[in-house]
Amino acid sequence: MPDRSLVHVAFYAALIAVLGLLPPVAIPALGGVPITAQTLGVMLAGIMLGPVRGGLAVLLFLFLVALGAPFLSGGRGGLGVFAGPSVGFLIGWPVGAFVAGLIMRATTNASVLFSAAVAGAVGGILVVYAFGIPGISFMTGLSLPKAAVGSAIYIPGDLIKVAIAAVIAQTIARGLPGAVLSRS
């Protein structure tokens, strides 16, 4: 991997970390469920970097978390988070970024805004929950439907993040087209 790619991978890993440090926002219209910006970073990594580098950025981020960096939202970090009920979501993140990158690659004819929205929704929500819900079920002994209902409260917030990710991708595509590496 060229050094430039390595810097980009590290950059998005750091972005995921920084977004996790922002305090969670509770939106009353969505029932006051706290929303963190962290998965926005996961979506952006896949959307901006493409499948391989996007997935690697998330893996690099998770590696730092495992080393003990308190980079997960809520200041969590260390090996402990990989023993918690939400471990499935963490496993789903790099896969989600990978899928988001694949979608950006496959839809180069569509506008960046549209491609990024689809990539964020499929990679950042569908794939991540496909790992996260069985994860909860496995770690807590809850049935799959119950685990799904418990996770569903976060989906409206995730949809907002998809919209934000699409707008950011579009902004970057305009201001710094070379930075949309999934398209170049």
Partner: protein, 203 residues
């Protein structure tokens, strides 16, 4: 760019990087296994004592807690709203101890020592024909990028606040993304100018 590393020759600087990294990793794992208040208070006292033992330069670094304070207050407020104040206090103490301990490691460990300590974890990559150096370099790049990104956002937010009186806005996202991406390009060029990741010498 400011450096996280605090030059010196204290007991903490002399400890091998691997030992310090392991201690932080194991320490945070253990901190998640406990909910007992006094354990956290003891840990906090120990970490603070470690800072004090390095002298005034290290004590000044404690101001990083100031940057976290809003975040910590939000955690406590959320817990207070849901009626679990005690959990909030524990969470805050845990966060302080872990952030301070992690910063302590980066404060007393040179970058090349840090690299060398993480390297063995990536040996298996070499068997598959990949360079084991790059993930290690990636790790240190992230550790350096993260605070720098927060600085970029902080400067933009202060300027926005001075202009409008409002604290923050979605309007900051675009200039932040563009400035931060430019910065990462500069880092890539600086790395290339120094011979790239192959040019890094290891002891």
């Amino acid at each position: 760019m400011i450096s996280v590393f605090l030059s010196g020759d204290s007991w903490a600087h002399r400890l091998p990087a691997g030992v310090k990294l392991l201690a932080v990793a194991i320490g945070s794992l253990l901190l998640f296994r406990t909910e007992t208040l006094w354990v956290f208070l003891v840990c906090l006292a120990l970490v603070l004592a470690a800072y004090v033992s390095l002298g005034s330069g290290a004590v000044q670094r404690l101001r990083l807690l100031k940057g976290l304070s809003i975040f910590l207050a939000a955690i406590l407020a959320l817990h207070w709203l849901s009626g679990t104040v005690m959990d909030g206090v524990i969470a805050i103490l845990r966060l302080c101890v872990m952030v301070l301990a992690a910063s302590f490691v980066s404060m007393t460990t040179r970058m090349d020592d840090m690299l060398a300590a993480v390297m063995p974890l990536f040996r298996p990559l070499e068997w598959a024909g990949f360079s084991a150096r790059k993930p290690a370099l990636g790790v240190t790049l992230v550790l350096r990028f993260a605070p720098h990104l927060m600085e970029i956002f902080g400067v933009l937010r202060e300027a926005y606040q001075a202009r409008t009186g409002k604290r923050s806005s979605w309007r900051l996202i675009a200039p932040f993304a563009l400035q931060a991406l430019k910065m990462s390009d500069n880092v890539a060029e600086a790395l290339a100018a120094r011979g790239g990741s192959q040019g890094l010498t290891l002891k």
